[in-house]
Symmetry: C2
Subunit: 240 residues, 2 copies
Amino acid sequence: MRDDDTTTPAANLTMRAPRAGREAADAAHKPAPRRKAAIRASNESHLLACAEAVFAERGFEGASTALIAERAGLPKANLHYYFPTKLALYWRVLDDVFEEWNAAADTFDASDDPVQAIGGYVRAKMALSRRRPLGSKVWANEIISGAAHMQDILLERVKPWMETRVTLIERWVEEGLLAPVDPKTLLFMIWATTQHYADFEAQIRALAGKRALSAAGFEASTEEVVRMILRASGARSPQA
Amino acid sequence: MRDDDTTTPAANLTMRAPRAGREAADAAHKPAPRRKAAIRASNESHLLACAEAVFAERGFEGASTALIAERAGLPKANLHYYFPTKLALYWRVLDDVFEEWNAAADTFDASDDPVQAIGGYVRAKMALSRRRPLGSKVWANEIISGAAHMQDILLERVKPWMETRVTLIERWVEEGLLAPVDPKTLLFMIWATTQHYADFEAQIRALAGKRALSAAGFEASTEEVVRMILRASGARSPQA
DNA sequence: GTCTATAAGCAGATAGAC
DNA sequence: GTCTATCTGCTTATAGAC
């Protein structure tokens, strides 16, 4: 998923011949360890990308391993060779999505200036909604369904992150750099608004037209969201 | 769903005797038309309520008519007697949810004062998220999945509503009653933030605790969301 | 209007040849 | 590492007795 995504694994099927001639006879069945690892990595990441799309479209229960395998151009049995159960595959997708969320979350601490920190975080979240809307949809689906498979991530990783950011926002409020906002409400508004551009893509397309989701339209929306969030939080830069 | 919701249909099973004695013999199989209509209304609304919960939890593809019927305490065949297909049942649920959205949307026009109009609309949407989170989740699931079953509602009903509201917001901007906001971005932010309290209930519960979703906690969040949206839009009341 | 039984097909997962 | 065939159980929907 991270280093590969849209290429089909068809290439693998015609590239099994090893580099060394003496292994050519049984090469199709016993690829060198190096190549085996490469095939595994390629198929796994491709299956993960296809799974992300299917889970986004149909949710965990609605997704079928047959459809995921079909989109990946592989027999269903191969999917079960790489991922023993549908749930294991789903977990990998969720974990992958979380890692990117985590990277975007770092931008919150990029500055001591709330205008820079909050503005930068909103831009990072909007960029993520643009670049990987399917991942956001899988996350949303999981939460809507009750988040049964994400309690660990929420409690052990997201909650601690949120609590330190709550403290930071409270300090900014005390320093007069923010309006007296409730920190959690502010964070929820940021998440809700930025993820709306990924999760509700279909609604935005129907209501605002394709242009709104073009590169230029999205960039304009991003800056407008940044302005509105900054006004909502009453952020101002500290005096140098 | 509208006039009935949480009562089980068990009452029906023991109340089939008609009021008139002369019909007592075959009453169980041939209830009077009046009673038949009442039974139909009761079972339909109860099935709709259970369907809303299951579609919210598992999406359209993931939901099964067997589970919906089981929750309603009815044999699966009865569900198909009232709703010929799973899709027909789903449409009824979506339409029902839309009708309540529509009612909340009216509050936007309750005043010519943007502070009152926007604040009232946000409060109405928050109240809807609180009162009927499952409906909001079904809507969200449908949009995330591509909104294939909601193009009509979106294009013929939501879009026209939005366009008149965009005009209204633009007028307020011209009159200096709002900051120079992009109207659609403002509406998306309102929808995203208020619906977040329904759709992402499980995440809020995990991150902010049960107290945040108590009656008092929700009321406090509502007023904080109203304040933040009003600041984001730069709304001020017209001079009398 | 209710409900048992069943049809016809799809689900997740596995066996075992290659 | 690949893939066909298959097991078991669940899916939507219907038939037909009551």
